[in-house]
């Protein structure tokens, strides 16, 4: 079997260029392994060889990513890698963000698998590319050796195209993938066993991963609605009649915006409801029951609210993955901000 070519991405510190005073170091290529890559190279033998190390200062990447990242990518490309590893960045935020950016670019633009090493709470793990493998490391370089051994095991599996075990077994961050497997006991049996452990106060591991939710500081109160522009957002599944945008009735992949300037209310001729999670007939009969345009338009005329925003934002909130909801929320919030909206009412069902 040929030896696979591995390229390691490191920051200025681990690459041996220097400390914070060199954090502005431009991308640089070193032949062969450097820093943690030396041990990684030994661990990967005989399957893989670290053929080169690409370095970049953390500040350089953080502050000038638009120039630094293509440069790093070009250096990596020149080494024709079969796999790129980045870090381990441990708990270092800037380094973690740089590793995440490099890995994403390597995968997307070079089509080469990428493996990073990070402490789970490193900000570089937020919003990461789910196709990039992130080996779990400790918060500091104190665990360098076992962390590199974990990375090497994962690297070997990726290079040999061997299937990965579950995230907690193989020591990487969950990628949101589910794999069906046969169990020797039914779900009911496993559930009762967990329940009994819970009752007895014994530790158990749930089979359902509970998503973590952000805690967002409440927005300050709107002092005077008579001077505010108010927008309506809905997850009730309201769409244009005929659903021309083909919004899905569950696990929706899109949100839509509808112009409502000049509309006194929502007509059942113009709007319908495609939410697949509840009985929608009363909304279809009178869409104002989900989106109170009739009331808000009247209040706009009476001056109780400054202005009703001209656009209605809508999606289906049925079985919506949290990560996607977060993305939709960000996108819609950006629209609202650009439109100068100060207040919004979101009707969920």
């Amino acid at each position: 079997m040929p030896t696979f070519r591995v390229v390691v991405y490191l920051n200025q510190f681990f690459g041996g260029v220097g400390g914070e005073e060199k954090a502005d170091a431009a991308p640089l290529l070193k032949a062969g392994p450097a820093g943690p890559g030396v041990l990684l190279n030994e661990l990967l033998r005989p399957d893989g060889e670290v053929v080169g190390t690409v370095l970049c200062g953390d500040n350089r990447m953080a502050e000038h990513e638009a120039e630094a990242l293509p440069h790093v990518l070009a250096l990596i490309r020149s080494l024709e890698p079969d796999l790129v590893t980045a870090g381990p960045a441990f708990g270092s935020g800037r380094y973690g963000m740089a590793c995440a950016a490099v890995c994403r670019a390597v995968r997307e633009e070079l089509g080469v698998p990428a493996l990073a090493g990070m402490f789970p709470e490193n900000p570089g793990t937020e919003g990461r590319d789910p196709e990039v493998l992130v080996a779990i490391t400790g918060p500091t370089a104190a665990t360098m050796k076992p962390d590199l051994e974990r990375m090497a095991r994962l690297a070997r599996k990726v290079l040999r195209r061997e299937p990965l075990a579950a995230a907690d077994e193989d020591g990487y961050l969950p990628r949101g993938k589910r794999v069906n497997e046969f169990g020797d006991r039914t779900g009911a049996e496993r559930m009762v066993e967990m329940l009994m452990k819970k009752v007895r106060g014994e530790p158990f591991v749930s089979e359902v991963i509970v998503p973590r939710f952000d805690r967002v500081p409440p927005a300050p109160a709107v002092r005077d609605l008579r001077e505010a522009t108010v927008a309506i957002v809905t997850t009730s599944g309201l769409v244009r009649s005929g659903n021309p945008g083909r919004v899905e009735s569950w696990r929706a992949t899109k949100w839509e915006k509808y112009p409502i300037a000049g509309l006194e209310s929502l007509s059942a001729d113009d709007f319908t409801c495609v939410h697949g999670g509840y009985d929608t007939r009363h909304i279809r009969a009178d869409p104002n029951r989900a989106v109170p345009l009739d009331v808000l338009r009247r209040w706009e005329k009476e001056g109780r609210i400054g202005k009703l925003h001209d656009v209605l934002y809508s999606t289906v909130g049925n079985v919506m993955p949290v990560e996607r909801a977060r993305q939709f929320g960000r996108e819609i919030a950006q629209n609202l901000r650009e439109a100068g909206v100060q207040a919004s009412i979101l009707t969920a069902t």
């Binding site: 002092r223 609605l225 009178d286 009331v295 009412i345 969920a348």
Partner: protein, 67 residues
Amino acid sequence: MVVCSAIPAIPMSVGVSRTFQGKAVGYLLGDPGLPLAEEKALRARLTARALATLSADVSEPTLFSLE
């Protein structure tokens, strides 16, 4: 932003700052059992209360309702 929901436990559990209790899942801001004029009046009361929550100072996820 205020989230109007018939199942406020959901927005509350994900940490929404201002949640307003809607009427029902199938008619959040209305009631098909009422004559149209009464339903519109109910919708106005619900919507007014929901909007008023935006002028309330809150420091943690807070549930509001019509009553």
